[in-house]
């Protein structure tokens, strides 16, 4: 176990901080499940935090000048380069502290919030560089599975079969033709100390992962499943239901990788059929039974792979309470 996490005291329903790093009054859509995990993450990090956000929905809804939703110091530079902006911030903190120009005894958390487009696609090189160089920062990818800010275009994170405006459900080609990019695999290949998946339907688990990510020395990455009622064609009130089903159907398993060791946080022994997950989202409504069968099969395979990885470390589940 990492020394930084040895005496880890997690959040429970009883000790949630009242602190909010992200203020109300932002302009996200009703039921947005992308802004929710962002808010929870800032709650977990606390005020001694500097945040960087990539261009995308979360940047747009939070910063129409002269308004801001950010109670922490915040910077938005561009779409693809947040990991590197964070590298610069972290390096500056290091240098200024060492030279006595910055007097802060506590650790200042440096956190990135970036969409799937910013992370899986355009910013992958910037992310890779920052992870490889070992900067002490937390990168949170809020994966709502398409470029929402520009009008729901496909990304490398868009799931197979999903309709987006650039992978439309046409007469011949029906939605996204490729499987979601294995970003966690790519990230883990950088041998960083901490990586995890999280989901806003499991808020305590999410907050604890953010806290751990901040505690470890070096780069930490959290792949957050983030819902988008507007882009997915789900009811706003179903945002968390969709998110929960993603875990219960094994579509988006919850796990951590600490120093290369896989730990499944929530084993799903009796999964619900993926169809239950797909049928409540308009982006999947054109799917044929063959496509659904293919998705089911592939989801099973991916989950089996993950189980084997976790079993090879002799650990498959950690205690986690959320309900």
């Amino acid at each position: 176990m990492r020394p930084e996490l040895k005496n880890f005291k997690g959040f429970t329903l009883k000790n949630l901080p009242e602190y909010e790093g992200f203020a109300q009054g932002h302009r996200a859509c009703q039921g947005c499940g992308t802004v929710l995990p962002l808010r929870l993450a800032l709650k977990a990090l606390g005020p001694n935090t500097i945040a960087v956000t990539s261009t995308g929905c979360m940047e747009i809804v939070s910063s129409p000048f002269p308004y801001t939703s950010w109670n922490v110091p915040w910077i938005h530079v561009a779409f693809e380069n947040s990991a590197t902006v964070a590298s610069g911030i972290e390096a500056a903190i290091k240098a200024l502290k060492r030279k006595g120009k910055l007097k802060s005894k506590e650790k200042i958390n440096v956190v990135v919030f970036a969409g799937d487009g910013a992370t899986f696609d355009i910013g992958l090189q910037w992310l890779s560089g920052a992870l490889e160089r070992g900067h002490d920062f937390v990168y949170i990818c809020l994966d709502n599975e398409a470029y929402m800010n520009t009008g729901v275009q496909r990304s490398g994170a868009t799931p197979f079969g999903a309709h987006t405006t650039t992978s439309p459900a046409g007469k011949i080609i029906k939605g996204q033709t490729t499987w979601k990019k294995n970003l966690m695999g790519i990230v883990i290949a950088h041998n960083i100390p901490y990586a995890a998946t999280a989901n806003p339907a499991f808020p305590i688990d999410l907050m604890n992962k953010v806290k751990k990510a901040a505690l470890v020395n070096g780069p930490a990455f959290i792949h957050v499943y983030a819902t988008c009622p507007t882009g997915w064609g789900t009811k706003s009130e179903d945002s968390l239901l969709t998110a929960k089903l993603a875990v219960e159907t094994r579509v988006f398993p919850l796990y951590e990788v600490i120093d290369g060791k896989y730990i499944i946080n929530r084993k799903v022994d009796k999964p619900k059929p993926v169809e239950e997950y797909l049928k409540i989202q308009r982006r999947f409504r054109h799917l044929t039974p063959e496509q659904i069968a293919y998705i089911q099969e592939r989801v099973n395979q991916e989950y089996e792979k993950l189980l084997k990885l976790a079993e090879s470390f002799g650990e498959t589940q950690t205690e986690q309470k959320d309900e």
Partner: protein, 389 residues
């Protein structure tokens, strides 16, 4: 006593940067910038410079890291050339729009295609409108001094500054340079203190959306800041002159008092042009050189004063502005003249592309060509000089 050292200009530039006690360096190697960033890495790894060196994976990342570091209150440095500058492009505008005092040594090189590592000004001209302050060095001493000035000016104006150094023909030559005494430099350049920065004790939002109601005003404010930098630059140069006796002006002249024709040029080729002046003056020809040291903000008044009563100006550009009415400097000069009653003829030559030598003999020829325009108007708005038929 100030000692003179024989140094490769790149090494001298790196040492001047180190003397400025930068906190964060972020760079990606590209010829001919490499010696600067290699030497800085060496200084850091040998414990001679207390700074974080971020060896990023691209130039876009180099500027991105500088932006993050500068926004946190660190003194930052980067350096690049040509393709690297173009890969950085998006972030150049963000650095200036966010008013971050980043300093860059831009080791000027041609832009591909065709790919070439040699010197001209096509890289810097691509960022002409990016809101940076631009200095042009002519020799090694100026390159060193302009680095000191760059930090002084950047931190007073909250604008990024590029020090342009011609690749190879300046960056890689060994020249005698004098470094400013560290104590004097520390007084000239006090530690960076930025009021608005990323600090959990005083959270602010940087990089908010410029909605249409505010974007124009934001740009106006930025433009005013760049214009206002002019006075700050003059002051920085005056203060420096008091310390060293070395004088810097936005536009410098050579033998312009009674010149009939003059060459206008930026960068290190000015030295060859001045040698040509000496040759021609010996023969009684009234020729001079106008050397633009400050390219942005463009010092129109100084320029108009510098040209005296010349009858023809030959603007020697080091870059092509495809499809335009001249080379970038030629366009600028014509536009400046339009604001004045002076109307010398303008001959605009584009010369020295991709390291093609423009020797003092070439400049003699260019002067002779310029003399012809006293009786005969130039037939084209600009001409690419020295094309092999």
């Amino acid at each position: 006593m100030t000692k003179k050292f024989a140094k490769e200009v790149s090494i001298a530039v790196a040492e001047a940067v180190a003397q400025c006690k930068v906190d964060v360096i972020s760079a990606y190697p590209i010829t001919p910038q490499t010696h600067i960033v290699e030497h800085l890495a060496e200084l850091v790894n040998n414990g001679e410079l207390d700074a974080e060196y971020i060896p990023v994976e691209s130039e876009h990342a180099a500027m991105s890291a500088c932006i993050g570091a500068a926004a946190t209150g660190a003194r930052t440095f980067t350096s690049t050339s040509a393709q690297g500058l173009l890969l950085m492009y998006e972030t150049l505008f963000i650095a200036s729009g966010m008013r971050l005092p980043i300093v860059m040594a831009l080791v000027n090189r041609s832009v591909s295609a065709p790919i070439s590592i040699w010197n001209d000004h096509s890289d810097v001209m691509s960022m002409r409108d990016a809101g940076w302050i631009h200095f042009f060095a002519e020799n090694g001493q100026q390159a060193v001094d302009l680095i000191y000035h760059a930090y002084k000016v950047a931190e007073k104006t909250l604008l990024p500054v590029a020090v342009n150094i011609d690749g190879f023909i300046l960056s890689h030559v060994v020249e005698p340079v004098t470094f400013l005494d560290q104590n004097l430099l520390d007084k000239y350049l006090p530690p960076l203190k930025i009021k608005y920065k990323l600090d959990p004790k005083n959270p602010i939002t940087i990089g908010a959306i410029g909605v249409p109601e505010i974007y124009t005003e934001a740009k106006k404010a930025q433009d005013e800041a760049l214009k206002a930098s002019y006075k700050i630059i003059l002051q920085a140069w005056k203060d420096f002159e008091k310390l060293t006796g070395r004088k810097y002006l936005p536009v410098e002249t050579y033998q312009m008092e009674d010149a009939e024709v003059a060459i206008v040029i930026m960068g290190s080729l000015a030295e060859n042009a001045m040698n040509a002046v000496d040759i021609l003056r010996a023969k009684g020809k009234k020729v001079g050189v106008v050397r633009i040291r400050l390219w942005r903000p463009f010092p129109t008044k100084d320029f108009l004063k510098a040209i005296g009563k010349v009858k023809t100006l030959c603007v020697v550009d080091r870059a092509v502005s495809h499809g335009a009415t001249g080379g970038p400097v030629g366009i600028e000069v014509r536009s400046a003249l339009y604001q004045s009653n002076k109307r010398p003829r303008v001959l605009n030559l584009i010369a020295g592309l991709s390291g093609r030598d423009v020797t003092k003999e070439d400049f003699v020829e260019i002067f002779e060509k310029t003399f012809e325009t006293l009786t005969k108007k130039p037939t084209t708005p600009y001409e690419i000089y020295g094309v092999k038929e």
